[in-house]
């Protein structure tokens, strides 16, 4: 169900993409201006993995980012719980 062509979507969304990217850059600058190291924090690792995932050339980026920020699922959880 694609309502528009990709160039039309880019035309419509370009300023929003630009705005969100600049917001993101400013957010990371804000963290950098704080005292002390932060890049070893597990949350920082998730942020960096997410930035790398954004540059992928295929769709599914939102799902990929949500997976990066998710705990893993263990299919044997019922055994772990003795259920």
């Amino acid at each position: 169900m694609a309502a528009s062509s990709a160039p039309d979507v880019l035309q419509r969304e370009f300023l929003t993409i630009r705005s969100h990217l600049i917001d993101l850059a400013a957010l990371l600058d804000r963290v950098d201006r704080g005292d002390g190291p932060w890049r070893d924090d597990p949350r920082a690792v998730q942020v960096i993995q997410s930035l790398q995932a954004l540059t992928a050339a295929e769709p599914g980026r939102a799902e990929k980012l949500l997976q990066i920020f998710s705990l893993s699922y263990d299919a044997a959880w019922r055994t772990t719980f003795n259920l």
Binding site: A2, A3, L66, A75, L83
Partner: protein, 267 residues
């Protein structure tokens, strides 16, 4: 255009909000029982809350032309104390035949513990014994994927459960396919910073189609927006989706899902 917000915590909203929603076209609301922001001190507190959802909130909504339905249960955040949860679950049967009760909800997992699972199994069993529909809360943030998979494992293991009578709520891009592929309804919650935005909800409709999709505000006492469904409708229109498609998602779909409850009446 008329719409139905199938998940909103009316007890946490002002009458100004109800008037705004009505002016935007809202005609029906569904209010699941949930955590009030603090743990209740006893089962009687739940008893009063169930009375509020079945007696008082419908009266508060009526002057604005809003038909009020609710779901009853104990939320995952208060499910860790299994003995306490069983006291609350024992209160539920007397309320299930009240005229605005659609089923058991919102129930689910929060931190995905063994005790939460035990309470959830008891709630699913109660729902099945009373032929009730179910509305599932899926966990927040990093727990969502794991918790959604565990909820689906529990439901799949119970042969009495009909997926068409179950909504897996608060789906996002990494969980919506899991719910839809197994025949469940998938709720998309529109929140300012967590869950989904109206734009991402439109993306999911474009990716998966309108079938068995519900869009809701889940507006409560925290940062949330009772006009979120109207904002989704605007986002759909801005992307040139038809009025028929928008109406299907925001009005026909929730009526179809909730219409499976014995207590549901068309507005």
């Amino acid at each position: 255009m008329e719409f139905f917000d199938p998940h909103i915590h009316i007890a946490s909203r002002t009458t100004d909000d109800l008037a705004t929603m009505a002016m935007m076209g809202c005609r029906v609301v569904g209010e699941p029982a949930f955590w009030m922001g603090y743990d209740r001190s006893g089962a009687n507190s739940f008893y009063d809350y169930f009375r509020q959802l079945t007696e008082w909130e419908p009266k508060r909504c009526a002057p604005y032309g809003l038909r009020h339905y609710c779901w009853l249960g104990i939320n995952a955040k208060e499910a860790e104390n299994v003995a306490f949860a069983r006291e609350v679950i024992a209160l539920l049967p007397e309320f299930l035949s009240r005229p605005n009760v659609l089923g058991i909800g919102e129930i689910g997992l929060h931190k995905c513990t063994r005790n939460e699972v035990a309470t959830l199994q008891a709630l699913i069993d109660l729902a099945m014994q009373h032929q009730q529909q179910m509305l599932f809360h899926t966990p927040h943030l990093e727990d969502k994927y794991k918790g959604t998979r565990m909820i689906l494992d529990l439901l799949r293991a119970d042969r009495r459960v009909s997926p068409a009578r179950v909504c897996i709520d608060h789906c996002e891009e990494h969980t919506i396919r899991l719910a839809l592929d197994e025949g469940y309804w998938a709720g998309i919650t529109l929140y300012p910073t967590t869950k989904a935005t109206p734009q991402r909800a439109v993306d999911m409709v474009e990716m998966y189609g309108p079938e068995r999709i519900l869009v809701n505000s889940s507006a409560d006492w925290g940062p949330s927006d009772p006009t979120a469904v109207a904002k989704f409708m605007l986002a759909m229109r801005q992307r040139k989706h038809s009025d028929a498609l928008i109406r299907r998602i925001v009005y026909d779909n929730p009526r179809q899902f909730c219409g499976q409850s014995a207590n549901y009446r068309e507005p």
